[in-house]
């Protein structure tokens, strides 16, 4: 057999990212569904509540955040499930690479395919709720950090619910309570951005949550996946 170099962790992570991207291209529905869900849910509020922009503007932070959280939860259910059933996760465990690292790469891919598009959509959906486009930077900054933290939290939940048949609801019950701090600071940052104040303070807090998640969540997810595979 040909003698070749062992792959470094960066090369392995690139392989994981490439693979997730290819899969997303082959199955666009799985990527588009959460985005469509977010758009539809947000657009329901002016219809169901009031068309008055001033009133809508007051509830806009909450609507945008709950909508984005639920939409990314929809996608989280698929994070590890198929990889577990087709044996990909077993190969990750046996690859000689750190499972924590590979799962982090996978979570990053997941965020790039759900959290980031949700973030980019939010200012435009905000227009429906009377959010001025001048607030776009603050709204997007808050959602980018928030969805990132939620992807990391969700990776733990997805790992823990691997062994559970139809674990979607359980996943929401596990993940959403943990996401409360993200929701609180995220909605606050969005509100400040909408009213024209500086959201920096709330964004720093969101950033610290994102870093905390990045430090601890992959370790917990790897431990959860190992248990789930047994």
């Amino acid at each position: 057999m040909t003698v070749s170099k062992a792959a470094s962790s960066w090369q392995a992570a690139r392989i994981v990212l490439q693979r997730e991207w290819l899969l997303a291209v082959r199955r666009p529905a799985q990527v588009l569904q959460p985005l469509a869900f977010f758009a539809v849910v947000t657009a329901m509020f002016p219809l169901g509540y009031t068309p008055e922009l001033a009133k809508l503007r007051a509830i806009a932070p909450g609507v945008l955040w709950v909508g984005a959280l639920l939409a990314s939860l929809l996608a989280l259910e698929h994070l590890f499930r198929e990889d577990a059933s087709d044996g990909t996760l077993e190969q990750y465990v046996l690859s000689g690479q750190s499972l924590t690292w590979l799962l982090l790469a996978k979570t990053i891919a997941h965020w790039l395919l759900t959290g980031l598009p949700l973030t980019l959509m939010a200012p435009w959906l905000g227009v429906v709720l009377g959010v001025p486009l001048t607030a776009a930077t603050g709204v997007m900054g808050a959602l980018a950090l928030g969805t990132w933290t939620l992807s990391l939290l969700g990776s733990i939940g997805a790992g823990l619910t691997l062994g559970v048949r139809r674990g979607g609801v359980l996943l929401s019950l596990l993940t959403l309570p943990l996401a409360v701090p993200v929701l609180v600071f995220g909605a606050r940052a969005t509100e400040l951005a909408i009213t024209g104040d500086s959201p920096t303070g709330a964004l720093y807090l969101l950033g610290s949550l994102a870093v905390l998640g990045l430090t601890l969540a992959p370790l917990a997810a790897a431990a959860a996946v190992r248990i789930g595979l047994e």
């Binding site: 057999m1 040909t2 003698v3 070749s4 170099k5 062992a6 792959a7 090369q11 392995a12 392989i15 994981v16 490439q18 693979r19 290819l22 899969l23 082959r26 199955r27 087709d86 044996g87 990909t88 077993e90 190969q91 990750y92 465990v93 046996l94 690859s95 000689g96 690479q97 750190s98 590979l102 595979l229 047994e230």
Partner: protein, 251 residues
Amino acid sequence: MLVLHRLLLAAPVAELVDATDLKSVGRKAVPVRFRPGAPQLVMSPLVVKNLTVYRGERAILSRVSFELDAGRVMIVTGPNGAGKTTLLRTLCGLVEPEDGQLCWRAVPCSFRDPQYHLELAYLGHDAPLKMDLTGRENLRGLVGLRRVIGPSDVAMALREMQADSFADRAVRTLSAGQRRRIAFAALGLMGATLWVLDEPITNLDGAGEALVQTALSRHLSGGGMLLAATHQPLGLDPLRCDSLALGAARS
């Protein structure tokens, strides 16, 4: 007093004689290893001792021990539910054993040691392939986690398993036997020493079986090791094969 003195003297003298004896044996010790029936002085690369696995209250495996030398095969046999798959998965670190020691290349190590995993490749019942990707893409993804390979390596491995005609179709559209051929092409590229295979030749047609046999024989003659759970004969050189029979499930 004299008796005691003699006794004290006698002991070291006896030891000395023993030591020279041992030395003379020791000089021959290298060829001795290959003499049939001689005690093994060098440890096998893979030594598993007292492996015990519980599922809840039920012992799936209790105190399973075996050794595997370079270039040799261990066929794990036993009725359904005897714990063949569990044994293989435990060995790969996918199932946490209750008890048991592993020595890899004479060094005690954990079943989850990344260095050990790098030298080990596992294929389960189902080929670990992504349905929406082509065979070639799957190969790159599976092997690329372990080593750097180029398109020419992938093409060669696929050709060897005569899988190049369907390697560019989505795995979803392939038959179980074709999927297995792609999985074996990946296995060959991983460059592992110890292959752990669960029912390696199920779903394969005659030609596929022959290809897998060739691949396995080449792996063994290159000093590789194989641990396989199977009901069917693998068609390998019987002189290379040992077998490990697992009993029926205990409650």
